[in-house]
């Protein structure tokens, strides 16, 4: 099936959604997504950040769709034409969605441990307006203690359901769900049950905001003062391929490896990249891990602050630009 997104055509198999097709083309057309997670079944369709405009339904029926559609839940049709960043209508609508997501989200980024790797922060910077128009009291919850490993900050939750789907699909029993509806909705573990499954720690990684954070890392360091390295160990329960966050010689945090869409990466041999709690919490010595090398961090991310492993990429880009502008390359002076 041929689909055109922002003027770029791609051939995709039947059953692909617009979002997946856009991600196949690349980051330049892929809409942001807060609730959709490709590794979790039935995720998506809650947050509406991935809305796009379908200007041509299909080759048979060239009528446009009447409203912007959620690209994570809309399957492509042959000959479909989609506008994402090229449509001012979509950008305006997305700005509204971000404003809605931020209505009840507290402005406590200076306190929040997710700051710096928070998708809502990125989304707000890229699509939101700098000021809030909301003048009412924000929704506030009493703190619920869900154990010493995971910290739940219900105020920060945007109800994306990712953690609920993770609890459903990657852990054996579901002890974790959403209660109440709409504005009152909250994730809860029913009567404050501790999540004590082997894979429960993954809810921290799938959470796009700071609602679920690592309690053992709580207030330890800001993420941009730590150095991420890819490491692995021989783990009997999971793949053992992780990202270790170092501060000096100290391991301050262990997370799963994430790809450019901020999703947990599969291993090269196709296994799930979700890591077990033993890897996440119990191996906080540098000697426990075989370190493969520094993580390639996007140089626009605050995490790349003071880490110079992206310099090669930068050099290539500068040289490309110089070539395009007709400059003499720096290292080929006559």
């Amino acid at each position: 099936m041929k689909v055109t997104i922002d003027g770029i055509e791609i051939d995709v198999p039947k059953g692909t959604t617009i979002l997946q097709a856009a991600r196949m083309i690349g980051a330049q057309v892929a809409p942001p997504a807060m609730c959709y997670y490709s590794k979790l079944k039935t995720s998506g369709g809650y947050c509406r950040t991935c809305i796009v405009k379908v200007t041509k339904g299909s080759a048979q029926n060239p009528n446009p769709m009447p409203k912007p559609v959620a690209s994570c839940r809309t399957e492509v049709m042959d000959g479909m034409e989609v506008q994402n960043f090229t449509s001012p209508e979509v950008l305006e609508a997305r700005k509204g969605v971000v404003e809605f997501l931020l209505i009840n989200h507290p402005l406590d980024c200076p306190v929040c441990d997710q700051a710096g790797e928070c998708k809502l922060q990125d989304l707000g910077y890229e699509n939101g307006s700098a000021k809030t128009r909301y003048e009412f009291k924000r929704r506030e919850f009493e703190m619920i203690d869900i154990g010493d490993k995971i910290k739940l900050h219900m105020n920060r939750c945007i109800l994306c359901y990712r953690c609920v789907k993770t609890a459903e699909q990657f852990t054996d029993e579901r002890v974790h769900g959403v209660i109440h509806r709409g504005d009152m909705g909250e994730i809860s573990t029913y009567i404050e049950k501790v999540i004590d499954n082997d894979f429960s720690g993954n809810v921290i990684d799938v959470c796009p905001v700071g609602a679920l954070t690592d309690n053992t890392f709580r207030f330890k360091q800001r993420v941009w003062f730590t150095k991420p390295v890819d490491a692995h160990r021989n783990c009997p329960t999971c793949s053992g391929r992780v990202r270790v966050w170092l501060k000096g010689e100290e391991v301050v945090r262990v997370t799963a490896r994430k790809d450019e869409w901020d999703e947990i990466m599969d291993t090269p041999d196709g296994k799930s990249g979700f890591i077990c709690n033993s890897c996440r919490y119990d191996h906080k010595q540098k000697s426990d891990w075989v370190i493969e090398g520094p993580t390639q961090v996007n140089r626009h991310s605050v995490i790349s602050q003071n880490h110079y492993n992206h310099l090669n990429e930068l050099k290539v880009q500068v040289m490309k630009q110089q070539k395009a502008l007709g400059f003499m390359p720096l290292d080929k002076k006559p």
Partner: protein, 197 residues
């Protein structure tokens, strides 16, 4: 070969009689020197006399407390990441129950150090601070004999409760405007505590 038009050919011409005896040159030079005796003296007898500082002079830092005396700093690290000299380091702690009057937010700076030898007093920390916590003042950093005494901890940086430092002159119109907005947690926090007391 002549490279530029600016070069001069050195002349070696004979000196005149007036130039040879040097006296006229010495007298005119001395006239300039002694004329300074009758001019206004630019030296200031510091520390008895102090020069007037600009209201935004950038001297030693202060970590502010809020209206209720709680420390404003929440150890977010924005100052440290903005600091071009990498002079600021901090360690954060979690506020316990009953410490609400000491720390404004649930996270606070357990340790906060500025290396005054590294600091270049650019004021970027002040600009980066989202909590109106760090400000530069008109106080000049004291001279010391040992290098390690230049690492200022919270004991030197946090303002004393009974000796508050006024920084309203340093706050930009945008900040003052922002502080008037109701509904924002940053501005609400003072009011809620006031009600409790």
């Amino acid at each position: 070969m002549q490279l530029t038009n600016r070069s001069k050919v050195v002349s070696n011409k004979e000196q005149s009689f007036a130039e040879k005896i040097y006296l006229p040159a010495i007298i005119s030079g001395m006239a300039t020197t002694f004329s300074h005796l009758f001019k206004k003296r630019p030296t200031i007898m510091y520390p008895e006399v102090k020069k007037e500082y600009a209201p935004v002079y950038r001297g030693q830092h202060v970590l502010k407390r809020d209206e209720n005396g709680a420390e404003r700093c929440t150890s977010c690290g924005m100052c440290a990441v903005a600091c071009p000299a990498e002079a600021i380091t901090m360690e954060s702690g979690e506020r316990k129950k009953g410490e609400e009057h000491l720390y404004r937010e649930e996270k606070y700076a357990k340790k906060y150090e500025i290396n005054m030898l590294r600091c270049i007093f650019c004021g970027l920390c002040e600009e980066a601070c989202p909590k109106e916590a760090i400000f530069l003042t008109d106080k000049i950093v004291d001279a010391e004999f040992e290098r390690d005494t230049f690492i200022y901890g919270k004991d030197k940086l946090v303002e004393k409760i009974d000796k508050r430092i006024d920084v309203t002159k340093r706050q930009t119109p945008e900040v003052l405007e922002f502080k008037k907005r109701v509904g924002l947690r940053h501005n609400e926090l003072n009011k809620t505590i006031e009600k409790k007391h």
